[in-house]
Symmetry: C2
Subunit: 192 residues, 2 copies
DNA sequence: GTCTATACGAAGATAGAC
DNA sequence: GTCTATCTTCGTATAGAC
């Protein structure tokens, strides 16, 4: 297999395993086996575990940007874009109930490990926050845009957190409806 | 040192280390060193890592019950009791920004490890949920009590999650004010 | 109940052959 | 670029002396 695609393959598998089992609990051997390469070959691409974490965070940043861009392209109205974000909770309900939110759980784990890449992982949250803020600005919420963006983000994080603990799909749907209701209330308040 | 107090001491230290560094990342050696005993002696009290996790979860359940009972004893009005819960985010802001919410992060980690004690850890959330529900019932919210309880719990979890990622104290204070505002809005809606 | 010594395996990481 | 072999450290866990 060519160098670039093997490297890409490793990152893809590491991303998945880090999400499902956690960063620390995932070993090089786990990744190598799933990637179909030897541990020795693995080290040709990544010298340390931190290096692969770095690459995984890069990938997640890239994919998050692509997803946010996609929502902007698909939905012309900010409200529908924000709803697309909120409904991610429903679309990903099965993995969320099993493994939590990929961003929140990575940030939490890296915080406990006091890991150097802590801030880089938090940047993924930063992308969402900034994007949501932008949508609220387009809606006309100048001063409150940042606050509302963080509020939606926090709320969805809380739903993911409890959904992981209780494995309750109905709870997710109810909260998603509530967040959407809150959003429409905010939008309505802007036209007054 | 007597048996009971050594055992208690181990649990106390394990609880703290599990919170600050995570369950998996904390080794027996870490606990033994901090407890001032040898690893060999450690095994006299706990045969496996799961056994000590079990004891730590027990301790957390007990302490959570005691805290909830304390709030009920100190505040006669349900509103003030719920506010006491919400303001836990402010009281514990420093450790939350450094290590997250003890309950949420433990549940998330155990979910990733697919650990047998996953449900037992979630029981701690259950205690909070049940207690909050009870307070809302006293306020007269019969049908909505459960939903509101889970809502407050989820919201506070989300705040803890983002606070850990962004290390933003102002954000915590703002959200706590928002949750309290939401609470008063719900209470006001009950008298109509 | 507490200790030291030690077995055993897993995980990160390296060396060097092909 | 990919492999096998190996080193080293660390973590769980046990045995047995005191």
């Amino acid at each position: 297999m060519a160098s670039a695609s093997t490297r890409h393959n490793i990152i893809e598998i590491a991303d998945d395993l880090f999400y499902r089992g956690g960063f620390e609990a995932t070993s090089f051997a786990d990744i190598a086996v799933k990637a179909g390469i030897s541990r020795g070959n693995f080290y040709y691409y990544f010298k340390t575990k931190d290096e692969i974490l770095d690459a995984v965070i890069d990938r997640r940043l890239q994919r998050t940007r692509a997803m946010l861009d996609g929502w902007e392209a698909q939905a012309p109205k900010p409200r529908e874009r924000i709803v697309a974000f909120i409904e991610l909770l429903i679309a990903n309900r099965a993995p969320i109930m099993a493994h939590g939110c990929p961003v929140g759980t990575l940030c939490a784990e890296l915080a406990k490990l006091d890991h150097v890449h802590q801030e880089r992982a938090a940047e993924i949250f930063g992308l969402f926050a900034h994007w949501l803020e932008k949508q609220f600005r387009v809606l006309g919420a100048d001063e409150a845009a940042r606050e509302w963006a963080l509020h939606v983000l926090a709320w969805s994080q809380g739903v993911a957190s409890l959904a992981t603990a209780f494995k309750d799909e109905e709870f997710i749907r109810r909260e998603v409806a509530d967040i959407t209701g809150w959003l429409d209330g905010r939008i309505a308040s802007l036209s007054n």
